[in-house]
């Protein structure tokens, strides 16, 4: 069990399996299947990104890339050839990983990360989190 009491502004916590089964839950996330299902479907995306792309950040500035068919090929230079949208099988996908996802609403946020093939989700109060982190 992870100690989430120390997390600033935490209002609830849950650990879910990759298939969405709730393993444990506390606070406002107690037995909240809606949240667990939604977090699970959020997890079932694949978005490999190459932040260390060789092309300069201004490569796209010439206005070539505007969603037309030919423009697609232009940017693929900076993208893994195998990484066709959802496939996630390119070199980038293999070496790259997102560590954490934050879904921030006006007053509350949900932070999730994956550890030991289990999804940890914590619900946090925005104002309280900000106040604590400033101290």
């Amino acid at each position: 069990m992870v100690h989430v009491e120390k997390v600033p502004g935490q209002k609830g916590y849950m650990v879910i399996q990759e298939d969405g089964t709730i393993l444990s839950s506390t606070g406002e996330l107690s037995s909240n299947e809606l949240t667990s299902n939604q977090i699970t479907s959020l997890m079932s995306h694949s978005l490999p990104v190459d932040f260390n792309t060789s092309s300069s950040p201004t490569a796209g500035l010439n206005g070539d890339v505007n969603g037309s068919g030919e423009a697609g090929g232009h940017l693929n230079v900076s993208f893994s050839p195998g990484g066709s949208s959802n496939g996630g099988s390119g070199d980038v996908a293999r070496g790259f990983k997102w560590n954490r996802i934050t879904v921030q609403f006006k007053d509350e946020s949900y932070v999730a990360c994956l550890s030991n093939r289990r999804i940890h989700v914590v619900k946090r109060d925005n104002a309280e989190s900000a106040a604590t982190s400033q101290q």
């Binding site: 990104v49 932040f51 505007n66 066709s84 954490r100 934050t102």
Partner: protein, 90 residues
Amino acid sequence: MEAQLEDQLNAIMARPGVVGVTCVDKRGLCLSAKGIASPNMSGVLSSIADQARKVDPANSSSPIVRLESDQGYCLVQKRSDFTLGIFKKY
């Protein structure tokens, strides 16, 4: 026609730390992608923004999604007509 959108995305690209930006229409199709953003990402970004909104259905506001990696992070938000993704490096 879409010159104003291009100008606007260029202005976003000029902000400090921004290395990529993409604008996606409500069907998940790419309107424009710059920097490290790729048209390939359009559907996924749109879908992530969609699913994120449903994490807390009681909350009517559209959430900002932040995905973080060791090298940088990505901010995604959706409005009724479009989704915007911004990539920033640390």
